[in-house]
């Protein structure tokens, strides 16, 4: 039986004037998969991601996320995805509880549902003691774990993580990836951009974007074999060199 496609991208292109930021990319992402979306700064991965989450319209080509067209059904897409950006994305001057309540509210969860979710989340991340403190007073690692959990409040089929572990220490990054694994095991699809090559090794499949095109897409193991190197870092460097 073929696996369900949660993301289908076909010849997706975005141009800004003469500059082609995303150049006819095509790929699929399957249910429950951890999909690594890699690329150097300026390779076009943020632009591609913005089209997938419905806040930027493609110039040509099409993409479906959770079976909805990102261009024509952006509203439906937005209801079915979670998103966490590289900039920390919760309100520092609200408490943990208030943040959860707010984000639950804008996704239309009922009051009762939000209460349950809040209790579970605080329990799971062991935040009982700080649940009523302002988010601004928490260490960055905690904030990011919290932001990840909050992006899952409305139980989206897929969650987009834009460099979620930027600026975090290795131990916290490890813990963050444990959360990701746990969520993927529940069947949620994870779409993650990163520039930490060791994190690329944790992904089920990895695509590497260079100058607007996807130059490689496979499991980390097969990528390392075909590029004859023993680390993802090696794969990345070889790809970059080819282009030069």
């Amino acid at each position: 039986m073929e696996k369900e496609k949660v993301v289908e991208v076909n010849e997706l292109t975005k141009k800004f004037g003469d500059f082609t930021a995303v150049d006819h990319i095509s790929f699929d992402v399957y249910k429950g998969e951890i999909f690594g979306f890699l690329g150097a700064n300026g390779a076009g991965k943020t632009t591609a991601m913005k089209m997938l989450i419905g806040i930027s319209n493609p110039t040509s080509g099409e993409a479906r996320v959770s079976h909805f067209d990102v261009h024509h059904q952006a509203e439906e897409v937005k209801k079915n995805i979670g998103y966490m950006s590289q900039k920390f994305s919760m309100y520092d001057d609200l408490t943990i509880r208030e943040n959860i309540k707010f984000f639950g509210g804008i996704y239309g969860l009922s009051r009762k549902h939000i209460k349950e979710k809040t209790a579970n989340l605080i329990e799971e991340l062991q935040l009982q003691e700080v649940a009523d403190s302002l988010v601004g007073s928490l260490p960055l690692g905690w904030k990011q774990k919290l932001a990840f959990m909050v992006s899952l409040l409305h139980e989206p089929r897929i969650v987009f993580l834009d460099e979620p572990t930027g600026g975090v220490d290795p131990i916290t990054r490890r813990q963050f990836w444990e959360l990701i694994y746990a969520e993927a095991n529940k069947g949620t699809t994870i779409f993650v951009t990163t520039h930490y090559m060791d994190e690329a090794e944790y992904c089920d499949r990895v695509s590497i974007m260079v100058e607007g095109k996807i130059e490689a897409l496979d499991t980390p193991k097969k990528l390392k074999q075909s590029f004859k190197t023993d680390s993802m870092n090696g794969v990345f460097l070889k790809l970059a060199r080819n282009v030069e």
Binding site: I53, G54, I55, S56, N57, E75, K78, K79, I81, Y83, M84, S85, Q86, K87, F88, S89, M90, Y91, D92, D93, L94, E98, K101, F102, F103, G105, I106, Y107, G108, L134
Partner: protein, 369 residues
């Protein structure tokens, strides 16, 4: 739908009430400004120090000097003996005006029916100098009328001026509408533009745009609390004006409330417009201060009368919403007129609000592309 909106507005109130800076701007500033403008910054004069050069020193000049001294506006500080000393007392800085009585004052008055007083003022502050000179003239005029009561004068033209709407010429009558305009502009435009750009800066705007909330809901949710707070502000200012300075509201309170809400909406849409241009809170603050506050204070007719500005500035003042709102406020508060006299200004404000909203919506969409 409504529940989502309520949640959003609640969040906005948390932001405002937990930020000391916002609270000070919101509630400290209107009170301080009204009290400052009402008490300290006035065009009225009180207890101005005056010196006398009395070359005549007769019974007539004594009466006049006593009258001047008795008025609340003037204090006779010293007597000088010669013209040379006048410059000296001015340089010392305390004395703002010198009255010079000519020689044989009483005699001239009796024989020639005319005697001269010269008023010399320190015009380093031209407004004060002008006011002093006017006040002295009116005291002297009054005095000469009293003399004339005893003697029949065959023909004379008398000017009796009466100041409508503000008989005592209290400057606070001008400042309360002015300050109200400035504060509403500040709270509505500056605070909203800062609060929206803050979401952009923190990256939370992106999260909101990815959520099922429509952009328009985000903007309305952010703007709504400020309508509420601005209205509270307007009430505080009017109450302070009424209780402390006896500034009346002659016209309809309902009309005043509606016009205020209209102005608030105009200012809010300007704030939204600024937030679509500015990328950072700093930029939003600068644009609001330079682009809004200065014109509102200088070109709206609040402090400087528009009719005495050079023509290009007069033309420019037309595009400043505050100008129209001040006309409306003064009309309702001081003259007690209704919409029949203010529909033109009201239409201008409505048109401005629509234009600002239109541009913001267009800009907002472009940014999302």
């Amino acid at each position: 739908m409504f529940k989502r909106f309520k949640g959003f507005v609640n969040k906005e109130f948390y932001h405002i009430f937990r930020d000391k800076r916002s609270m000070i701007i919101l509630f400290g500033m209107p009170i301080v400004q009204i009290l400052l403008f009402g008490f300290a910054i006035t065009n009225e004069i009180n207890n101005v120090e005056v010196a006398i050069l009395d070359k005549s020193a007769d019974s007539e000049t004594e009466v006049i000097i006593n009258k001047i001294n008795a008025s609340p506006y003037f204090n006779i500080e010293s007597e000088v003996q010669s013209e040379k000393e006048i410059g000296e007392v001015f340089r010392k800085g305390k004395v703002k005006a010198v009255l010079v009585f000519e020689k044989d004052f009483a005699n001239n008055l009796q024989v020639l029916n005319q005697a001269n007083v010269q008023v010399i003022t320190d015009a380093t502050d031209p407004n004060t100098a002008n006011t002093i000179s006017n006040y002295v003239q009116s005291i002297l005029q009054h005095h000469s009328e009293e003399i004339n009561l005893q003697n029949e004068v065959p023909y004379k033209v008398e000017v009796r001026s009466q100041m409508f709407y503000n008989p005592e010429l209290k400057s606070v009558f001008n400042f309360v509408p002015g300050v109200m305009t400035v504060i509403l502009m500040l709270v509505s435009a500056m605070m909203t533009s800062i609060s929206i750009t803050r979401e952009k800066e923190q990256g939370t705007m992106e999260i909101l745009l990815v959520s099922p909330l429509k952009p328009i809901q985000v903007v309305v949710g952010k703007v709504f609390p400020y309508i509420f707070l601005s209205v509270i502000n307007a009430v505080i200012i009017l109450l302070l004006g009424f209780v402390v300075f006896q500034v009346p509201v002659e016209g309809s309170l309902v009309l005043l409330a509606l016009e205020s809400v209209l102005f608030i909406i105009t200012a809010l849409s300007l704030g939204v417009l600024i937030s679509t241009i500015a990328a950072t809170q700093q930029a939003a603050l600068m644009i609001s201060l330079m682009g809004l506050m200065l014109p509102v204070i200088l070109l709206s007719g609040f402090i400087f009368p528009i009719s005495s500005m050079p023509v290009p500035l007069q033309v420019l003042s037309n595009i400043i919403p505050a100008k129209w709102f001040i006309i409306i406020l003064k009309g309702i508060m001081l003259k007690g007129v209704g919409i029949a006299f203010l529909w033109k200004e009201t239409l201008v404000l409505i048109a401005m609000a629509l234009v600002f909203i239109g541009i913001s919506v267009k800009k907002y969409k472009i940014r999302l592309e």
